[in-house]
Symmetry: C2
Subunit: 357 residues, 2 copies
């Protein structure tokens, strides 16, 4: 195995899990996955510990989230945390972290992981990672693709091309979130996988791809590399000048020699309260409810009391089915599970009105 | 007009409006009627002020509710409040209050009013009261009957007999809460009215009826009358020994010469959160919601933030219709409007489990 570095992207803005998630408490800091009691970001880091030690783990987050993120990962050294001065999407984030890795090990392989996904089969996940790391070490930018289990329209898809060998395949093309008809075709064809947003590459390989496809970013990263004692000021200056571009759009869809490792390990991007309900322990009536909940003639609900400030409270649901009920110190949300993706729209509305920041 | 006394029965136990209502904060102390900002009991007393002054107004409530009830009616003198040592239903309550009136004015007419009803047309109500008072002054025990507007199965009915004159009719019979079929028949026949629970009688007339039909109660009331300085102790002693019987069962259904005054004045017994929604101001989507509520794609909901302790809270409903959402310091209730009568069952369950007292 090559020297492996982990870069965890932890810059979420906290819209889909409102009111549990907020700008100051984004999704990755919540324990809404299958591992209750553990935040999603803590699960993410713990999951790869057998493959990558703390001193080679980097957490890229927003400056305003640094303290809260450190608190969620108390066993990592301070040097693990990168605070982006301003959010400039995944290309800037990955480019910056990769440049930092390159200083230490140009031939090191970087594994980029979202901080807020859930994985049921952790051994299966690590086996897939090992395949992807080998593919990356051989020179490809490699992504993990998840074998679809349903015609989901919430994910991007990757069309799988010819096998390169050892479990890795050429990427035929990236496709945006499809409509239901296409999603069904993709599922039936067995030639498409979900884009997991997990990437693997040698530091040097990615820097060259950025040089080719995003020269402005490459130039900015070089300025940071050359800044010496001025690094902090220059980093801020560079970030402020960067365009907001995703790594998929900026590099992956343009670069040659992109590989994909298809795999299945019980993956979920935990994209809405509906996902949280799916992942949660449920009683015989399908309710995932905290102890403070009293349910009468109520089925398949998600009920969470996430208040921290006040005393005991009884959350009583009578004669309602398939609802998400989320109580925090600042807000109460009631939304049918099947409409939980609309929370994003609600949050936009609340931000417009100045109700939340 | 004879000398009129008002007796307001305010001994509710607070089950149907949980979590707003509790044993210590029963329904009559809430402002859930059409007069928002005013408690139901305050509306009740204010409504009859043009007919009956404060010094002839008695409020019969439980001892444990005395302080809160006085606070809700700060303009009444302390002597207006009667604290029942233990709850023994309406016959004991009315008998006790009537015996007290009789000491002051045996020929005085007593008007007994529930403390927790809503009345839209207050002038119409007072006109009906004047008719009932005249009927009572002529010697009948008289009740106000509400002309039905729908086949409600939640009320007792009164069959209206021959006209006695001046708007009063003989009661042909009292009937219990009917099933839907019968309720429809009653409505179509136009010979039935709802039993409003409002009674009018001369003090002396009621005492004689109690002597005839509930001699044990009459004897107890006489012991209280004779107790002199020992009145408080004897009252407690008498109440503890009394059976729990309603005035309807104990007297009204047995006495001869019962009259009814049919009337319409926008009456509601505010029997459930559904009634509270019906009485509330609503927006163009049918939502009756506090300012703290944010509703997106949500219709015909009742949303109340009745917390007193904590700060501002956003109550967000997304994509839900016809729900009651009630938030208090101690609890959150979510129930469909059409199932809001099930709150009673919920409260019984919570009491069994010791979650509430």
């Amino acid at each position: 195995m090559p020297t492996l570095f982990t870069v965890v992207m932890a810059g979420g803005s906290g819209t889909r899990f409102w009111p549990a998630s907020t700008r100051k408490r984004p999704k990755q800091l919540l324990s809404i996955g299958a591992h209750r009691g553990e935040s999603l970001i803590a699960s993410t880091v713990r999951r790869v510990e057998p493959l990558c030690p703390a001193e080679r783990t980097l957490i890229a987050t927003g400056e305003h989230l640094l303290e809260a993120t450190k608190k969620a990962l108390p066993w990592l050294p301070d040097s693990s945390f990168l605070g982006e001065p301003v959010a400039r999407n995944t290309a800037a984030c990955i480019g910056w972290a990769t440049a930092i890795v390159r200083r230490r090990a140009p031939d090191g392989v970087v594994m980029v992981l979202p901080s807020d996904h859930d994985i049921a089969d952790e051994d299966g996940f690590r086996k897939a990672v090992e395949v992807a790391v080998r593919s990356a070490d051989a020179g490809s930018i490699t992504t993990l693709g998840i074998t679809p289990t349903r015609p989901d329209i919430g994910y991007g898809y990757i069309k799988v091309g010819d096998e390169i060998g050892d479990g890795a395949f050429r990427v035929a093309k990236f496709v945006e979130k499809p409509d239901t008809l296409r999603a069904k075709e993709y599922l039936a064809s067995k030639r498409y996988v979900w884009n997991s947003g997990m990437f693997f590459f040698k530091a040097q390989t990615m820097m060259e791809a950025i040089q080719t496809h995003m020269p402005a970013l490459a130039e900015g990263l070089q300025r940071i590399d050359d800044a010496g004692a001025e690094e902090e000021r220059v980093t801020r200056d560079v970030f402020e000048g960067l365009d907001s571009v995703s790594i998929d759009y900026g590099v992956m869809e343009k670069a040659s020699s992109i590989s994909v490792v298809p795999a299945s390990f019980g993956w979920s991007d935990v994209g809405s309260w509906q996902s949280a309900w799916e992942l949660a322990d449920k009683d015989e009536k399908g309710n995932a409810a905290d102890d403070a909940a009293v349910l009468v003639d109520a089925n398949r609900n998600l009920v969470r009391d996430l208040r921290t400030e006040a005393g005991k409270k009884t959350l009583a649901l009578v004669g309602v089915d398939d609802l998400c009920v989320i109580e925090t110190d600042e807000a109460l949300l009631i939304v049918p599970r099947e409409k939980s993706q609309d929370v994003r729209k609600l949050v936009e509305k609340l931000r417009e009105r100045g109700v939340i920041d």
